[in-house]
């Protein structure tokens, strides 16, 4: 379980998160929606400790992320993250991109890591591209590779930070299909997204962020059909 309690985050004078409370259960798919600058991506970066926080507490399966004694490298093995800019390692082949962390972080042998990587890359439809460098892949393929790279660590949680925002429209579908598949397999996912149809279809709950807080949270039916807050309705109407 991921538990977020009263989290505040500031970048200098900019107060990005102003007291977020949220918990995500094992097996749940939670979508975060909201305007740009509402704090949803920052929230994601705080969960695996890529960003620090000024106040509050985030725990992942009881481990406090921002406690001094916490070994973040160890914690991050269990939390996969996929970024908006897909961040392929350009100097490594597709296969090497995926085997790197299992080998260097989990200490697996090259053979073991390759078995895992081939399995994950087949899973996302990139079995034919093992020896290729990322520059030869389309954006959608690079993003699917990034998903396979995160999955190769067999994480308990997957975080997705607007993973389709930087893609050409015709490539969005293949990435969303991959995520759909993961949610069906029971992966616990937190998805920051602007794809409302997707959020509605795969989420168990949807959180609407506004001005650094969760303004409204509920089932997709509640948020999209019958929002309780006028700002939620206004946001959904505006996009």
């Amino acid at each position: 379980m991921i538990a977020i309690e009263n989290v505040h985050k500031q970048f200098g004078a900019l107060h990005v998160l102003k007291g977020v409370d949220l918990s995500v259960q094992k097996g749940e798919v939670l979508s975060m929606i909201g305007g740009s600058g509402s704090g949803k991506s920052t929230m994601l970066m705080c969960i695996n400790g890529l960003e620090g926080i000024q106040q509050g507490r985030i725990t992942v399966d009881g481990v406090e992320v921002h406690a001094k004694a916490t070994d973040l490298n160890k914690l991050r093995r269990r939390i996969g993250i996929v970024f908006q800019q897909w961040n392929a390692f350009p100097h490594l082949t597709v296969l090497e991109n995926v085997t790197l962390a299992p080998r260097k972080v989990l200490g697996k042998s090259r053979e073991e890591a390759e078995v895992i990587a081939v399995e994950q890359l087949s899973h996302v439809g990139l079995k034919e591209k093992l020896a290729v460098f990322p520059s030869r892949l389309s954006g959608g393929q690079q993003q699917r590779m990034a998903i396979a790279r995160a999955l190769a660590m067999s994480p308990d949680y997957m975080l997705f930070d607007e993973v389709t925002s930087a893609l050409d429209p015709q490539l969005v579908g293949e990435v969303l299909d991959t995520m759909r598949m993961l949610s069906k397999e029971g992966m616990t996912m937190i998805v920051v997204t602007h794809e409302m149809r997707f959020a509605r279809e795969v989420s168990d709950r949807v959180a609407f962020f506004r001005e650094g807080r969760i303004h409204e949270i509920g089932s997709p039916d509640q948020i999209f059909e019958n929002p309780q807050q006028p700002e939620t309705a206004a946001f959904l109407k505006s996009i």
Binding site: L50, N73, R76, F89, V105, M153
Partner: protein, 220 residues
């Protein structure tokens, strides 16, 4: 002018000069490798934002780039000697060129590091790689590609600088051997002409092998 070229003595001592050339290659190559490693640390120290790291690195880089290489080698030979650390002329030359290489390369690497996007570090750390692993597997390989051409120049410079060993009494490298033969035979032009040709070939060989390495390494 009634100087007559005599090439036969040069040809006779060519094997000796080739042995000298081998030592020149050894010194230049070693100084380049050591310089590269040191330069990575210097560049990282400068980027660290910590004064106690960036200040010494800065002093090193500034001295290496703004004083003559000749002076740097002198300082290592006589300076260390006066501190009771007697080093031979070979070591003084090697350390001197290494010092110079590291200073120049550090400045090049700093630009190279800036060319690797911060998001690469983020992605690596998010997979659980530590700070050192991230540098080693992700950042440094990409940095080296960005600066490879500038490195090739320094490599040639490293070969040419090695000729300064003669000023601290080195007699076994290409310049040292040539100078020794010159003193005995007075065939100055002939000997130094052949030496210059050999320096040219060594420099070209370094550049060419760098290209081969780049072609093997940077396939992406």
């Amino acid at each position: 002018m009634d100087y007559e070229f005599q090439w036969r003595p040069v040809l006779r001592s060519l094997p000796e000069m080739l042995w000298g050339a081998l030592q020149t290659i050894e010194i230049a190559g070693l100084a380049m490798m050591l310089g590269t490693v040191l330069a990575i640390f210097l560049a990282l120290a400068k980027r660290s934002g910590k004064k106690y790291l960036s200040l010494p690195a800065d002093m090193w880089i500034e001295t290496a780039r703004n004083t003559p290489a000749l002076f740097q080698i002198y300082m290592l030979y006589f300076g260390l000697g006066s501190l009771g650390l007697q080093v031979g002329s070979y070591t003084a030359l090697l350390l001197g060129i290494t010092f110079n290489n590291a200073g120049y390369l550090a400045e090049t690497f700093r630009g190279g590091f800036a060319a690797v996007p911060e998001t690469q570090t983020r992605a690596a750390r998010s997979l659980g790689l530590g700070a050192v692993q991230t540098q080693w597997h992700i950042v440094i390989p990409q940095m080296l590609r960005a600066v490879f051409h500038a490195m090739t120049n320094q490599m040639v410079w490293s070969v040419l600088m090695s000729s300064l060993g003669v000023i601290v009494g080195l007699t076994t490298d290409l310049t040292g051997v040539t100078q020794k033969l010159n003193v005995v035979t007075y065939r100055t032009f002939e000997y130094f002409f052949v030496a210059a040709c050999l320096y040219y070939l060594i420099s070209k060989a370094f550049t060419l092998s760098a290209r081969v390495v780049a072609w093997r390494l940077f396939r992406y």
